[in-house]
Symmetry: C2
């Protein structure tokens, strides 16, 4: 059957039947990254393609570099690791200017600089479209996994959910000037120049039981935590941190805001569970408690006192 029909999850299970373990890994396929058996070394890899993950019609090469580097290093942060080195495999058209390639690397380098990470080389090939493969290695004293959530934990998310997608839509619909007064610039900045939440992680990591970054959409990412931890997660809809600019944009474009907030991806915020009560701001970043963990399975949304099962799924990269 075609992979576009079976989707990501089933394809992953088919691949897992082929791949053999050899005792080198503490954590393998299924989390944001893998962990070597030393329990300290975290590795991650991701592919980003023109027209799929970024659009050069309204992003510069520098922006593309920043977005892709953020996504790559956010996977390390989502494992509780500090980034050390990033490798770049780059496929690009022969007609690309060397200036554009330098700008792309300036974007990658900027994110690395913010996180004290180092670009350690890679590979460049000629191809008809721009594709980046970014791999990164990080170090941690204790990996934070998707599978550690326990009944009684609280569920937290950093930043504003759906803000990056808001920024993307403002760019696509050329609405940036109209929304400038109500936070449009912040949204566009989160889309063009996101940064992984390493500083938040460093301050709250002691109490974290399970961690993931919000890359596929809040609904999908909460589901990952629930499934891998074997628990039920209850999300209070009114507690999800939505920025006014997102509310206004959804009104103007006639988008259901509840669906939008649960399904918008690429925020690269931290979504985590903890027994601790945390303040509303950590390292200058909003941190909001949006629900709790119970015995059971699945994800439920509590809206105006009524609970319902979460039906919205996040982005499937293949379907």
């Amino acid at each position: 059957m075609q992979v576009g029909k079976i989707g990501e999850e089933r394809l992953l299970r088919l691949i897992q039947r082929v791949v053999r373990g050899r005792g080198h890994l503490l954590v393998g396929i299924g989390d944001d990254g893998l962990v070597l058996k030393d329990g300290r070394t975290v590795l991650t890899t991701d592919a980003y393609a023109q027209g799929v993950h970024f659009d050069l019609s309204y992003l510069s090469y520098y922006d593309v570099g920043r977005r892709c580097a953020c996504a790559a290093l956010s996977d390390l942060v989502a494992m509780g690791a500090e980034p050390v080195v990033m490798l770049v495999a780059l496929a690009l058209p022969r007609r690309t200017s060397s200036r554009a390639v330098q700008e792309l690397y300036q974007g990658l380098e900027q994110v690395c600089a913010e996180l004290n990470c180092e670009i350690g080389g890679g590979d460049i090939i000629a191809f008809d479209q721009l594709v980046l493969g970014l791999s990164a290695l990080g170090k941690t004293r204790r990996p934070l996994l998707r599978s550690g959530a326990e009944p009684g934990d609280l569920v937290y998310v950093t930043g504003y959910t759906g803000l990056a997608e808001t920024g993307r839509l403002l760019l696509v619909h050329k609405l940036s000037i109209r929304f400038k007064a109500c936070g449009g610039e912040l949204a566009i900045e989160r889309h063009r120049h996101p940064l992984p939440r390493l500083q938040v992680l460093q301050r709250v990591r002691r109490g974290i039981s399970a961690l993931i970054d919000t890359s596929d959409g809040l609904g999908s990412d909460v589901r990952h935590l629930s499934q891998l931890s074997g628990v039920r997660v209850v999300i209070q809809a009114e507690k999800i941190p939505v920025h006014p600019v997102t509310r206004e944009l959804c009104q103007v474009l006639d988008i259901d805001i509840n669906k939008f907030v649960l399904s918008s991806g690429e925020d690269y915020e931290l979504l985590f569970t903890s027994k601790r009560r945390l303040g509303s701001t950590v390292a200058g970043v909003p941190v909001n408690c949006i629900g709790w963990v119970e015995k059971g399975a699945g994800v439920e949304i509590e809206n105006q006192g009524r609970r319902s099962k979460l039906r919205i799924r996040g982005y499937d990269h293949l379907k």
Copy 2:
């Protein structure tokens, strides 16, 4: 200027101006892989694209997996490291069958199994063409670099130079049956199912001063050793190990065999320098002394007692 015009080496220098070191690496851009400051951890990444690195018209998905995994892990072996884990970033068309993806992974897995390496996950995205980004981590007690060659060293190469390219041409020109008797099967096998020379490395590594794998073509790879070690390398043309099937194919296709042998890539053999005299076979693989290292610069070819500067360059991935 367009990257297709300035070529790989100049583009790399432009990129190096943008990238900053942060003390995490012992060896950075310029070798087959990078080495963390622990001196033991080696990392490498490469991209492989349909139509550029492999051709599905005469290779199966399984073959593609084997070839790409060999190329990735050969870079670790070329740093003197034992492969530990490989990560797979895969871009593939939605119409690809799940069976084809499983076969691709079977090819990757087969090479990993031979080298006691483990596939540790990765990323899959939908794209209009098949592109693989393979990254790998290996461990070594002492990294073997391109820069260690010294005057007085001998130059060795394993296997048969140009054999993989011979196999590729036999497939492209549909000559496999005609050349079956004189080694065509061996050549095709080296193209479809190459394996990194880890076992040879394990037996000769003590005496190695500089090491690279032959992926860009012997001429180009010798030049890398010469440039990075700051020495002159003299290659004796008649000592280069050429298999009879390669001689015969070059005759039939009217190809200059000397150029062919110096410029054919993707053999994934070991090219190394050592002060030691080695036997002609190590771990069942031919090991031939093809020249020596002198004070000076550049690469010279000695042919029937006459020396000339090497003019043939290997493959530039961008030009």
